[in-house]
Subunit: 326 residues, 2 copies
Amino acid sequence: MKNILIIGGGGMVGQKLAAQLAAGALPDVGTVTLFDQAFPATSAPGEQVMGNLTDQRAIEALAARRFDLVYHLAAIVSGEAETDFDKGWAVNMSAVWTLLEALRAQHLQSDGAYVPRVVFTSSIAAFGAPFPAQIGDEFFCAPQTSYGAQKVIGELMVSDFARKGFIDGLSLRLPTICVRPGAANKAASSFFSGIIREPLNGQEAILPVGEDVRHWHASPRSAAGFLVHAAGLDTALLNGRRTLNLPGVSCTVGEQIEALRALAGADVVKLIRPQADPMIEKIVGGWPRDFDPKRAVALGFKADHSFEDIIRVYLEDDFPGRAPAP
Amino acid sequence: MKNILIIGGGGMVGQKLAAQLAAGALPDVGTVTLFDQAFPATSAPGEQVMGNLTDQRAIEALAARRFDLVYHLAAIVSGEAETDFDKGWAVNMSAVWTLLEALRAQHLQSDGAYVPRVVFTSSIAAFGAPFPAQIGDEFFCAPQTSYGAQKVIGELMVSDFARKGFIDGLSLRLPTICVRPGAANKAASSFFSGIIREPLNGQEAILPVGEDVRHWHASPRSAAGFLVHAAGLDTALLNGRRTLNLPGVSCTVGEQIEALRALAGADVVKLIRPQADPMIEKIVGGWPRDFDPKRAVALGFKADHSFEDIIRVYLEDDFPGRAPAP
């Protein structure tokens, strides 16, 4: 039996993961524990532990429970890490260190018997422009945000603790998750979900960039699937390179809109209102557009097949109303 | 007038740098301060401050002096960071963070007027095998030692503090320094210097690897020259990519030996005794062999022209006896 901890278990991806685990996505699951600052009213199944990642005693108490599998999904997101420098480094770097040290302490206390699988979520923010047309598995990290720098640092820590045998860890660079359910947020990437979600819900959506903007997407279902797959991966196959660029769907905003038209019809698409926002255009211009994630594909990570599939996942998993007939 | 701090100023490269500064390598130098745990009896000129990098108050007191230019050369070296995990991370990661935070505090207290140039020394240990024949400027970091992971983390911190405008920093990935003066040390790379230095001094040297082993070298004089050049570099030219692979000399051990023969004669070369050491062969097999450091070359960093030049530098700068006639 495998006891599982999801740090950031109250968040969108954490909840999707907990729901997949509850549905039997992994064999031999014992308990599932969700750690977060808050939980949605209708949370996925799991023991809820409320706490803050920067609380060293809380992290050490969690580590002392010697979970077999630890997911670390919690982070200060890109925008907030950029405006609150101290908070971003405290949560996205120092708390990762605290967690790894607490797990190592358990490893040492167990005379090396305890070696938890640790799955750390990183991001394509690890990369900074300019990029090649497709980013390969050996392209270098030159992050242009504090969030990106902190994520790469977390990857390096996880890799070194794993190389030394204290944990058995790996890091996953997730594509931009789309379609995010719920309300729009203030992330610069919010519109990628908004231009699909809002029209499907009969609401207008602002498109702040040109239709030629290309980006890299995965559905929430795929994101949770990546995390499930990482739990059982034979990490010896990673040959000491424990950070993976994950597969996704590369498409332009124009292709996103055509997928929406094909699934939901022209009237829905009419709710997308172009209104250029130079600041968002500039930020998005510095983001990766496409990847060639050979290693992760060879290791069995599976993404959505098309942006139409990504919309279908939203309609099946998160659409609050009835799916529209085109 | 520019006041300069060299953290690690008591070490070999720090001393070479201090000597070049004393000889007028940079214009408008005010004071030069050397911070280290110990200094050689015949130190290069400069105010000596004795202290430990993990002493936060000592670092903050240094930062409060608002040096215009801060070199950070101090580190727990590769071998020790591998055997003493805690010490390596404390010095090579946490102390870098403490230093940057202390400099940022001065920046904020000065209402942004104080923005020191920070030159951080990193290493080709940032890379992990397998490599392409030549490592390019956009090859990724997959370090296979704690030292390498810690150095990449330092680079990422320096870049982000610089991107935010708290410092004006850059990181230099130095080649293996050769010929190191003085006694052999226990680093796996020690023999690269030993097979030149010991025979020139009339002593036998063990060669633990095959003559076909290729590696990437720079003389101590070049290393200090890189640091001097970095002081005056227009960092706007770095386009936000503030870590540089530096130029060097790529050559095989066989080519090293032929250079020694050309300069010092066959009798000197006879003092090199091959004696395979599988452990050293394995470690060295995971090290970079060659680079194509286009960016650093375009930015004016200059390396030695050949391994013969590297030996000549040793004879001119560090050879304790009289240069042998071939």
